[in-house]
């Protein structure tokens, strides 16, 4: 079958590489032969082995009747959305690694694919090479899934791992990640949690059956996390991770949030280090399932794209029943309604008095300490209550809150 690739960047070139280098394995395993016959990119690649099939004109792909499967690895909503829509309407299967596109336009593209009796697949949009979308949609199809959570961004996990294991500051760890190519020059999409938020929206849409738009999802990155917080987390038997999570509530609404969290060391997510990702899914029959692996990188992500390409070939005459309904109004719950415990780091004038007061107000409080703790610094973990209530109570304690981090249960 003939494959076109839109965008010859990190992932797109990885897809070409995997299809070529592993062509024998793929044919043996699946009975399919794939050939990359067109690549769209606005740049020139005069030295590439693919230079003769690279085009700057999308019409060369859209109008090529011999192209069966189109791989979209450009990123961003436009022009990807227009290109993908056109390809689906022209009866071509589309495979994408573009999380922004799926998070924003997923329901619409799935409907277009269904209408045109072709596949729109996006395993690579969440968790890079880790099998997540297919296990959730196929293997766990017999379950009601009510919760999904995970470490879905490799860049921030790399930075936090450096801070935790080597004691370097956020700024230094970010610089190191940039030098290694793990973080962009403008790191905002990663460090501010936006990338993880898009991915949790895709997972929530898939698990709960209704499109969850990224608009309005609570999203907090890791810029505020300091080595002091890392040290206090250690004393609480935890590590700090950027956790993305979503939960279907009894009233039909969805809680979704991305924020740094204290993760207890007994939780498998605490052992997910460096650029690895992991995703927990909770099904009513199967219980907790976790999938773990490299969440980014050219070849790992291409591995997932190629899995989808093979799936398109296997199911070329059959529309797969797969997807979710368009978004509803008001599906998002208010995140401050969620029950949580909070880690609080604050400054006080009279430590003994502050601790006494915190204890009397909260009842049970776990105080934490660290090496070289300043005389005027107090850190503690509150009991579990609704976040809105917690913050209200906190404002009555008289302490000056420097930072708070949620406790992940």
């Amino acid at each position: 079958m003939n494959v076109a690739i839109l965008g010859y960047g990190v992932v797109g070139s990885g897809v070409a590489k995997v299809l070529k280098e592993n062509s024998k394995t793929i044919e043996e395993k699946t009975g399919h032969e794939f050939k990359v016959t067109r690549i769209l990119d606005i740049r020139d690649f005069p030295l590439s082995e693919y230079r003769t099939i690279i085009t700057k004109n999308f019409e060369d792909i859209a109008n090529d009747k011999d192209i069966d499967i189109v791989v979209e690895t450009m990123g961003g909503v436009e022009p990807a959305f227009g290109f993908v829509t056109t390809c689906l309407e022209k009866g071509k299967h589309v495979v994408t690694s573009n999380k922004e596109l799926v998070a924003v336009k997923g329901a619409q593209l799935l409907a277009t694919a269904r209408k045109n009796n072709v596949n729109f697949l996006f395993e690579a949009s969440v968790g890079g090479g880790i099998p997540v979308i297919r296990p959730v949609s196929r293997c766990l199809a017999g379950n009601n899934i009510t919760k999904v959570s995970g470490i879905l961004n490799g860049t921030t996990n790399y930075i936090l791992t450096k801070m935790i294991t080597e004691g370097v500051s956020f700024e230094a760890a970010l610089k190191n990640a940039q030098e290694l190519g793990y973080a962009e020059k403008d790191p905002s999409a990663d460090v501010d949690g936006i990338d993880a938020m898009r991915k949790i929206c895709i997972l929530a849409s898939l698990c709960f059956g209704t499109h969850l738009s990224p608009d309005g999802v609570y999203c907090e990155g890791i810029r505020r996390v300091t080595l002091a917080d890392v040290a206090y987390a250690e004393k609480f038997g935890s590590v700090i991770k950027l956790v993305a999570r979503a939960e279907k509530l009894a009233d039909g609404k969805v809680f979704a949030a991305v924020s740094p969290c204290f993760v207890k060391k007994a939780n498998m997510l605490s052992g997910v280090n460096d650029v690895y990702n992991a995703c927990f899914v909770d099904g009513d029959m199967v219980g907790d399932v976790l999938m773990y692996g490299k969440g980014a990188g050219s070849e790992a992500t291409a591995s997932a794209v190629v899995g989808d390409i093979i799936d398109c070939a296997d199911n070329s005459k059959e529309r797969k029943f797969f997807g979710w309904e368009p978004a509803c109004e008001d599906i998002l719950s208010d995140y401050t309604d969620k029950e949580t415990a909070l880690y609080v780091r604050c400054t006080v004038t009279d430590k003994a008095e502050a601790c006494r007061r915190l204890k009397s107000i909260f009842g049970k409080v776990v105080f934490l300490w660290r090496k070289d703790q300043p005389e005027n610094e107090v850190a503690f973990v509150t009991p579990v209550m609704k976040e809105r209530q917690l913050r209200k109570v906190l404002s009555t304690t008289g302490v000056s809150v420097v930072t708070t981090i949620r406790i992940f249960e």
Copy 2:
């Protein structure tokens, strides 16, 4: 579609339950309706809601043209093998959770299924409810897979977890597992590693493409593991786990073994506790991928069976390209050719002299200590070398070896 269940035990009854309780979810997600129309069991179930469809006569199912999918949850090779073969030949899809059947007869049943243009699926045969077979065969189909390993038996993992976290002996932990229904009255298939061995054979067959028969695979259970070993492992920054692993070697042969191992705490497998299972797969493009969840239990295993049932319905007119070739002669490598480090616990007469001698013979040796260590006991970890050579060297040291445990890398 109509489903028959062979064997109304723990898993079979779970399948009926999941299909019934989650019928609405399944229909919404997949568009299919499933009805259990026949159940085979030699026992009577006078109070069951299914009593009117339970039969003791396999022919009632084999000859029922309205049955589309047969679920085999009887266990054991015979009569399951005969029943499954008949069903496939009669054009019925078969889904099984029976690891012994798949490990021994997998290649043959896959060939029968292919010949008759039906599906033979067995997601539930490895890792209970954890998605393993489908992610490996579908999502990672673009990879050459050269290594697979994991904790594949929940009973032994429960026993080891009790020993590690609560300091109870093997015997007491086994008794506890039996009381909770996690272990059989005759626990041999679990504690002697046979169940894990069958599962690693299935995974190796799937990953490497050639049937690996359980005959001759090195298999060692956990009966010899003591609390002394658990304590020494802790000092080595490790925990003891029953690890099943297989590796495709450069010469085309396959290394496969099940044995207790020291697993470093930095390895994700070390955090897999209680009856949970986890499986690592190493693909040349994707790198390490791990899947984790409940490895046993009625509903978890049924969740995987139901995923396969849905897959049969989705692909009812299409034979899935899926499976492996029949076994070759001499595919198994000699496990003593494998390079490994060994933990050794031994008794000595003169400790200082023994340690000096061990150091001079092995070069680098890591000595371990524990609380209440007897005066005549020495424990250490050897350097890495071929196991055959290691054991030969060990026999020249003059120490009296009590036990050895491999170090898992």
